[in-house]
Amino acid sequence: MWFKKKLTPAYLLNVFYPYLLITPAIIFVLVALLYPLLESFRISFYSYSLQYPIRFIGLGNYRRALNDPLFWRSFVVTCYFTVAVVVAELLLGLGLALLLNRDLKGRSLMRSLILAPLVLTPVVAGLMFRFMYNPDYGILDYFLSLVGLRFLWVSSSSTALLSVILIDIWEITPYPTILFLAGLQSIPLEQYEAAEMDGASRWQRFRHVTIPWLIPFVVLYLIVRTSDAFQIFDMIFALTGGGPAGVTRSLSIYSWLQGWTNLEFGYASAVSYVLVAFSAVFAIVYVRILRARVEV
């Protein structure tokens, strides 16, 4: 009978075996990722300062964030940072990818050197540059002093954010480089040959063959990198802690300060979710604007 056949042990094992194999991963995701996400979202609706009774305040934390000048200053810092690093890394990454795609002597060594910073964690990069940027003992100012220059790097409010951006560019540019290099190497050579036969110049080949083929990679890079840059935390934490005078205080740093320094976990969660909302909006905008170009 089909009914009995369906419920044989062998049949059940066949059906459920794949799920059994992925169960540990699902449990991990639920416990380590989903539960904290949901719980932090829940407490964002509470006045969850550990010094006072916890109470439900609805959108109170979100209203507080939107009326908090420090929140908006952190938002502006985050936007400056994101735009600067995303654009700079895109252009630099494309340039390096084009360079590495050529048949040059020492290409392997160049690749290794260019890609090396990516293996560092952001915290390590931040700590490394904290010493290198020191205006009194740092190696960078030592070399600058040999040519009569001096730069305060993260010791001045006018140069600190730029100094942070430079570190991020140095560390993360290898990522778009690899991505665009993969893209370049996936372009069929026939496209270039056909364009050359049609009399296209080098620039025209780049504009009408290379760029269109790279657009999906650019979209992917923009979505991933914008979201990533918007959430910048660890490198700034190690390097400046958000100072001086808050000029490097990103939204993530601000959320951490509220949560772990002021022990206001409800408000910190709300700031984090506003950050998530902005990231989601940017991702949707990118996909909408650039999807048409990808489909074409």
Partner: protein
């Protein structure tokens, strides 16, 4: 039944009765011997178990400093000595300064027993009181493990009064009362003529003199157009170091954070603004501090003085042992001295000196599962011989008697005299449940003035608004 059988039965019955009585008597005799032993064994086992509990492994969490010379002594001398003496196991986890508060306070608030004993400053006590085991109650409950005379001995600690919150003893003041002093290079003072009639270095007494001296000592010694030595330095770093610097400028200029009676916020009073203007002008207008002071805190000021980059500084007393060591400070160990911090000259001619101070010590985690062992470790740190060891390495400790021990005085005599004098002008942060938030707010906004992104008035107005919000939320202000 026949008569012989009856007699036999009777005989057997009598024998059985005698044997029973004998057995009963024997049982009672055995019980009389054994029961006390059982009871004794129970007592022995209970005591043995308690002794085992006293030597259970515990985790002691502290920060690294580096102005934690006392922690260095505890880690390298006292903890190993405790383990050797008692057979107990202490895992001393030293947490990076950057995340010290987050990790240790966070573990308390999470009601985790991860740390049994935690190294904290007094200003954290009101905020974390609900998560700390009251030590007076604990000692009363476990009086059998409290060392004889220990409670009376605690009164030897001058800072014990800061260890109470809500009438409960929460804290053993292991380390000495910390404060800042003015340290200065005697050779540079002489070289640039900042001396008295007898030719001895003349350190500044007022803020006006301090600025004058700082200007004179900001010099380009080799004539290459670059400043080689700055007059002084500041703690300019956030999240909180700058607040610990600015606060005594605020107080000595006559300002207050808030009225102690009404809690009305007054940090943005004219005195507060004047103090912040003076503080930030040291960098922005007079350029008598290194350009990188926005990133300076204890280690940077320590290194700057140690390497001759600054001629004087207001620095925590913890710097003294390292600076006076010829091995670690060969350039300056015999070329510096120290005195009281400058203050504000008042119309009547007196000088209003005020410095910030605080007290480090240990608390017992309310959620620790090794409280007996943790308490014994805390108590051991407070014993006189161990306090003396701390004082010999650090200059100060929690116990007054240990500090005035002849051996300690012989090593640190003059330093202790100056410190004792400075203590008269030392204040702690006002102890509220939002003190830490107030410190962060002051740090955030005073750095904005120091960096000239806001004027002193704008910065302090923002600061005042924030502090007022915190005090209202905490119920100090209606």
């Amino acid at each position: 039944m026949s008569a012989p059988i009856n007699k036999a039965l009777l005989g057997l019955t009598l024998i059985a009765i005698v044997l029973s009585v004998a057995a009963l008597a024997y049982t009672l005799w055995v019980a009389n011997q054994v029961l006390p032993t059982i009871a004794g064994m129970k007592t022995f086992m209970a005591e043995y178990e308690k002794k085992l509990k006293l030597t259970e492994p515990i985790t002691f969490g502290s920060w690294t400093g580096p102005e934690g010379t006392d922690i260095y002594i505890i880690a390298n001398d006292l903890v190993p000595r405790y383990m050797a003496e008692t057979g107990a196991k202490v895992h001393h986890e030293i947490v990076s300064r950057d995340i010290f508060r987050e990790k240790l306070a966070g573990s308390l608030i999470a009601k985790s027993g991860e740390y049994d004993v935690i190294w904290v400053p007094t200003e954290w006590l009101p905020e974390l009181a609900d998560y700390i085991e009251p030590l007076d109650d604990f000692m009363a409950k476990h009086s059998d493990i409290v060392s004889p005379g220990f409670e009376e001995w605690l009164n030897d600690c001058p800072a014990l009064k800061y260890s109470y919150v809500g009438g409960k003893l929460l804290f053993f003041p292991v380390s000495g009362y910390d404060t800042v002093l003015l340290f200065y290079r005697t050779d540079l003072f002489k070289k640039y003529g900042i001396v008295d009639e007898a030719g001895n270095p003349k350190p500044p007494q007022t803020w006006e003199e301090y600025l004058d001296v700082a200007k004179k000592l900001t010099v380009d010694e080799d004539g290459d157009g670059k400043i080689d030595i700055y007059g002084t330095a500041l703690f300019g770093k956030t999240p909180e170091s700058i607040a610990w610097d600015y606060i005594y400028y605020l107080w000595s200029f006559g300002g207050e954070i808030f009225d102690p009676e009404t809690y009305k916020v007054t940090i943005n009073s004219p005195e507060g603004i004047e103090a912040l203007a003076y503080f930030s002008d040291l960098l922005q207008k007079h350029h008598v501090v290194p350009e990188g002071v926005l990133t300076y805190e204890f280690p940077e000021v320590y290194a700057a003085f140690q390497t001759g980059k600054i001629a004087m500084c207001i620095q925590w007393q913890a710097a003294y042992p390292g600076w006076s060591d010829p091995e670690t400070s060969p350039l300056i160990y015999d070329k510096f001295s120290y005195t009281l911090c400058p203050g504000k000259r008042l119309p009547d001619g007196t000088i209003r000196r005020v410095t910030i101070g605080h007290q480090w010590g240990v608390i017992l985690n309310k959620y620790s599962v090794h409280k007996l062992a943790a308490y014994k470790f805390m108590e051991w740190l407070m014993l006189k011989e161990n306090q003396k060891r701390l004082a010999l390495g650090y200059g100060v400790c929690g116990s007054y008697s240990a500090m005035i021990d002849p051996e300690v005085v012989a090593k640190y005599g003059h330093f202790q005299e100056v410190l004792a004098e400075q203590y008269k002008y030392t204040r702690l942060w006002p102890l509220t449940t939002v003190t830490h938030k107030i410190i962060i707010s002051i740090a955030t906004h005073s750095q904005e003035a120091l960096a000239a992104t806001l004027t002193p008035k704008e910065a302090l107005d923002l600061c005042a608004d924030e502090i007022e919000t915190y005090l209202k939320e905490a119920g100090y202000l209606s």
